[in-house]
């Protein structure tokens, strides 16, 4: 396996891209661009689009950072650049 700095950076950027895509979809996508469409669906008493803008996106943001921290730790160890 390629353990060079370049390969490590490529793996990092790959992870960042995936997470930022989700980050964009839940806030700018579900919370803003597609909000009217999603408001047709209800989550309890919440119209779904409104829920994403006022609640859901924030829960997902929290999850995203922890997923990032965990996966990044795995990448660090895989490429043997983790802290001691």
């Amino acid at each position: 396996m390629d353990k060079s700095g370049e390969a490590y950076w490529k793996a990092t950027l790959g992870l960042l891209t995936k997470i930022l895509v989700v980050w964009f979809l839940v806030s700018f996508g579900a919370g803003i661009l597609f909000v009217d469409m999603l408001n047709g669906i209800h989550l309890g008493g919440y119209p779904l689009g409104f829920w994403f803008a006022h609640q859901g996106s924030m829960y997902i943001f929290v999850a995203l950072i922890f997923i990032y921290a965990k996966k990044m730790g795995e990448i660090d160890r895989k490429f043997d650049v983790h802290e001691d």
Binding site: G45, F50, W51, F61, V62, I65, Y68, H82
Partner: protein, 602 residues
């Protein structure tokens, strides 16, 4: 015990706690002063970051803004939390690996240029100073409204408290008081929300309550709220956007980028021991922030419903909102309305002389509403409610006990003081570390620099206090400016410093300056040059919001785009950065070899 005594006791106890912590956490070295010794755990730092971040505006004003704006208010919620994802992924871990005391030092070292770091210092000082004015006035407001003293006295007391723990303890003192302040403010925010949610929906969790049915009714709170506000001529609560969809999009993006680029927040991540800790700490910070931020929309919606049903009795009984006896009689106003009327935050004027209060949108274009209001003899809206009341008077509106009201007072003060302290540290370290040590006197001893830091802190507190006492007429508009500056100048520069190995100093400096310039230009065109009334130049740029209808508050993201664009163009035509800088970038990208943060200038 009467309300005033309870408030004095609770606020006094919280202040005693902060001062106690200050004496326990004194700073003896520059490392303790700037980065709390670098050994703060990720959870503790997360909690301190949450208090650092959540200002008087988050605590006092945000729920009220959302209450007025409805769905569109979500831009604050998404913008001010989504920025932490960017901070965690793009900046914090790399800046921690870089391992120096301040943000301008990273920019100066990475772009091998004192000019670059000086530009960064200027951006930092402008952003942080404008921000701190708002905190100081927030302290004054909380004091004058809850403790019955003048807001001047309030600001002096606030300055005194911050002075004790920020000058004595620097980052170390600030970190541990921020943890205590977080605990105070989060209780103060959530306790009333839980009571109100329970009361309205029977669900004690506000986040679920907002999506539940009203007690004893077969209709959800939000649906009911939509029906009432539309019937009274306001925009539908769950769908009204902030301007156009494009404006809301860009505004949200600006707040996200601005949040990630605010130096007083970034600095907190220099206090954790490792790169891995910086990553998870950002997650913890957002957990603690989200507890308040997911409660805020519930407070907003529920307080709006409470207000509506107080002023119009037909709301609760599903009666005719326009019936003559539905509107609240002036003589039967609840105590809290009288109390807050005295502060001027609540205004009532009986325009049609019927001895009752009519609250509706008299500027509506809805012909139904206009016809009904006319038939009912309504002569215009009679009640104006300042957004801040939604949080400040919330416990009173919901008839909660005195100790809850006292807690809200202490919480508002905690939110303002913790943010003020963080900003003051960012300001004083930029002065003592980046200017005094970095530019004017590189040979200063550690002891000398520590003293310079404390003196800079003391002077900053006095300046912040002075500005709080004599707020320049533009205080209200300035927080938006702080975000605009952070978004358009600092965020892109730091990000390119990490993600583009070939970005050189010419590109970075040109980028920062043009991002800053275009943003200031757009803001000043609307609000006056340096916010001086009469110096607006809207005609020159073709009327208000000429750029695709984007408001000046939302412009930071456009400034950031300009910054990136200019930087890459200039970079193409100028010399590559030297070899050792490219190695520096490589080493910043990998966690191994992270060491304790220090202040040595390269």
């Amino acid at each position: 015990m009467d309300l005033q005594t309870t408030i004095y006791l609770v606020v006094g106890a919280s202040f005693a706690l902060y001062i106690g912590i200050a004496f326990w956490a004194r700073a003896g070295s520059t490392s303790e002063f700037y980065v709390a010794g670098g050994g703060v755990g990720p959870r503790v730092n997360g909690m301190a970051t949450a208090a650092d971040w959540m200002s008087a505006a988050s605590f006092i004003s945000m729920a009220g803004l959302i209450s007025n704006m409805g769905y569109g208010g979500g831009l604050f919620l998404m913008g001010w939390t989504g920025g932490y994802v960017l901070l965690a992924l793009l900046l914090a871990p790399y800046l921690r690996k870089f391992g120096k005391f301040t943000v301008p030092q990273f920019i100066g070292d990475r772009f091998y240029s004192k000019s670059a770091s000086t530009v960064a210092v200027v951006c930092l000082l402008t952003a942080s100073l404008t921000y701190v004015i708002g905190q100081m006035t927030g302290v004054g407001v909380a004091f004058s409204r809850f403790l019955g003293v003048s807001s001047e006295t309030g600001i002096y007391v606030g300055m005194g408290i911050v002075f004790v723990y920020a000058v004595l303890g620097g980052m170390k003192g600030i970190t541990y008081t921020q943890v205590a302040q977080y605990v105070v403010l989060i209780f103060a925010y959530t306790v009333p929300a839980v009571f109100i949610s329970m009361h309205l929906t029977g669900n004690p969790i506000p986040q679920l309550g907002l999506g539940s049915n009203l007690v004893g009714q077969d209709i959800s709170l939000l649906q009911k709220l939509d029906t009432i506000v539309v019937e009274l001529g306001f925009g539908q609560y769950t769908t009204t956007t902030a301007g156009s969809t494009l404006n809301m999009f860009v505004y949200t993006m600006s707040l996200m980028i601005g949040t990630a680029g605010l130096p007083h927040v970034i600095m907190r991540f220099f206090t954790v021991p490792t790169v891995a800790a910086a990553r998870s700490s950002a997650g913890w910070a957002l957990v603690f922030i989200a507890i308040l931020y997911t409660t805020a929309p519930a407070v907003a919606g529920m307080a709006k419903y409470n207000l509506m049903s107080t002023v119009n009795t037909a709301v609760a009984t599903n009666g005719d909102l326009y019936a003559a006896d539905s509107s609240l009689e002036v003589a039967k106003q609840p105590d809290w309305m009288n109390r807050w009327a005295k502060t001027g935050l609540l205004k009532f004027e009986d325009k049609n002389g019927d001895g009752r209060i009519q609250y509706y949108n008299d500027k509506t274009k809805n012909p139904d509403v206009i016809a009904k209001a006319e038939a009912a003899g309504w002569k215009g809206n009679e009640l104006t409610v300042n957004a801040d009341i939604i949080v400040l008077a919330n416990p009173e509106i919901a008839l909660l006990p005195n100790w809850v009201i006292a807690l809200v007072a202490a919480g508002g003060l905690a939110a303002a003081l913790s943010t003020a302290a963080g900003l003051l540290l960012a300001i004083s370290s930029a002065i003592s570390h980046d200017l005094v040590k970095g530019v004017f006197n590189p040979n200063i001893s550690e002891k000398g620099e520590l003293m310079a830091g404390k003196v800079a802190m003391a002077v900053s507190i006095v300046i912040a206090g002075y500005l709080g006492l004599n707020p320049p007429g533009f205080a209200a508009g300035t927080v938006a400016l702080a975000f605009g500056i952070a978004a358009s100048s600092l965020f892109p520069a730091i990000m390119m410093g990490i993600f583009s190995k070939k970005m050189n100093k010419e590109g970075a400096i040109a980028g920062m300056l043009s991002g800053l310039f275009i943003t200031l230009f757009y803001v000043f065109a609307h609000k006056g040059i340096f916010f001086i009334k009469g110096t607006e130049f809207l005609d020159l740029i073709g009327g208000p919001n000429p750029f695709f209808g984007i408001t000046p508050e939302a412009f930071g993201a456009i400034g950031a785009l300009v910054n990136f664009g200019v930087a890459f163009v200039v970079d193409k035509f100028t010399k590559e950065p030297p070899e050792h800088i490219q190695h520096l970038v490589e080493s910043v990208r990998t966690p191994r070899g992270s060491k304790a943060v220090d202040g040595v200038h390269a």
